[in-house]
């Protein structure tokens, strides 16, 4: 009786767990074509010459995402000068969070002076494909555009600086010591879908 209940509980748990990381380390990063605040489309091939691509799943409203804006701008400037491309992706469309709409994105990018594209994942398909769970959530695609790092920017604004360490390792051709890390952030508000 207990075993059957356990089985049912586990089955239900599997059904009820929302999108946790869909991509695994080593998977090819799903491609995308997203519209940015620069009024241009952005896709992986656009950055085929980059040594790596850093996807920052973020949004306008989340206090943690906002707290990381400056750090990410600094990292963006530093590593884009070394050939690594950053792309910020807004995961919350306006119908889920009014403050995360496209006009607000344009405002925010302008106000903060984002040195990288800020694109709108309006259908949330890209966020789902990567399995982004919260903001900010980082996915780094290495030279082969496979996922080499996923997770946190750092240890809540202190060392270890996971993302910087991962990017330094990529530039040095070394293995990334901690390829999966976690940090607290705002759960992404995914729209309910028929298959949820």
């Amino acid at each position: 009786m207990m075993n059957r209940l356990t089985a049912v509980a586990v089955f239900m748990a599997v059904l009820s767990v929302p999108a946790v990381a869909k991509v695994e380390l080593g998977d090819k990063g799903p491609d995308f074509m997203l519209f940015g605040v620069d009024y241009k489309y952005h896709y992986l091939d656009k950055y085929q010459d980059a040594k790596a691509v850093v996807l920052v799943f973020t949004c306008n409203h989340c206090p943690v995402a906002k707290a990381y804006q400056d750090a990410l701008i600094a990292l963006g400037k530093k590593y884009q000068a070394k050939g690594i491309q950053f792309i910020a992706i807004n995961t919350n469309p306006a119908d889920m969070v009014a403050a995360d709409g496209f006009p607000q994105m344009i405002e925010r990018a302008k106000e903060k002076g984002f040195p990288y594209p800020y694109v709108y994942d309006e259908t949330q398909q890209v966020s789902r494909a990567y399995g982004a769970t919260h903001t900010p959530h980082i996915f780094v695609l290495g030279p082969e555009r496979t996922v080499v790092y996923m997770g946190a920017v750092d240890n809540r604004h202190k060392a270890p600086h996971y993302l910087a360490d991962a990017l330094d390792a990529i530039l040095a051709g070394e293995e990334i010591e901690r390829p999966v890390t976690r940090q607290f952030g705002c759960t992404i508000k995914y729209r309910k879908q028929a298959k949820d």
Binding site: A13, V20, N155, Q183, F184, C186, I188
Partner: protein
């Protein structure tokens, strides 16, 4: 013709009015009950917000073996967490007598314990065991609690009566699901 009030005609409605008014005084209205409860909690000792690390977390779960344990990870900066709070408090009130324990863990910065966090709980507190995370490396803590958890909050974890993690829920929309899951947990410790 003068209109003299017919006292006889008014006697019955008046009597009813008076009697129902006193009924109200005898059976406290919900507002009165809430006010009494608030007064009672004001006289309790100051709210305990205990710093907790991984070992403390594990001990807290272990200490409630025999009960179903719901852990709610939240932060004052997390709007959906604030939204969930009254729902979690209701679960604590309604299902506590049936063996549910709610552990509330704030992931606000530890420096905020007696400022923002205490202030928040004084308004929203649900009367359950309250903790604040105090660790050096957050990645280690999150991974150790639940490897599948990437750190998103609100996060609610349900432990069975043996202290084993059974269910995980993320987001304020999941609280109804949490309630269903709690109610379907086995009633007896195996």
């Amino acid at each position: 013709m003068s209109f003299r009030p017919n006292l006889g005609l008014w006697a019955l409605p008046a009597a009813l009015l008076i009697s129902t008014a006193s009924c109200k005084r005898d059976a406290p209205a919900p507002q009165a009950e809430a006010a009494q409860a608030a007064t009672a909690s004001e006289t309790k000792p100051a709210l305990q917000i205990k710093p907790i690390d991984l070992e403390g977390y594990r001990q807290a779960i272990r200490s409630h073996k025999g009960k179903v344990v719901l852990v709610d990870f939240w932060a004052t900066w997390c709007a959906p967490c604030v939204e969930s709070f009254p729902k979690i408090a209701r679960l604590h009130r309604e299902l506590g007598p049936q063996g549910l324990v709610v552990l509330s863990v704030s992931v606000d910065a530890i420096e905020e314990k007696d400022g923002k966090v205490r202030k928040f709980l004084q308004t929203y507190g649900g009367g359950f065991e309250t903790y604040i995370l105090d660790v050096q490396v957050f990645d280690d803590f999150i991974a150790a609690v639940n490897e599948k958890w990437m750190g998103q909050i609100p996060a609610m974890f349900l432990y069975d009566r043996t202290g084993k993690l059974r269910r995980e829920f993320y987001g304020v929309g999941e609280v109804d699901e949490v309630e269903r899951a709690i109610r379907s947990m086995p009633a007896e410790t195996p």
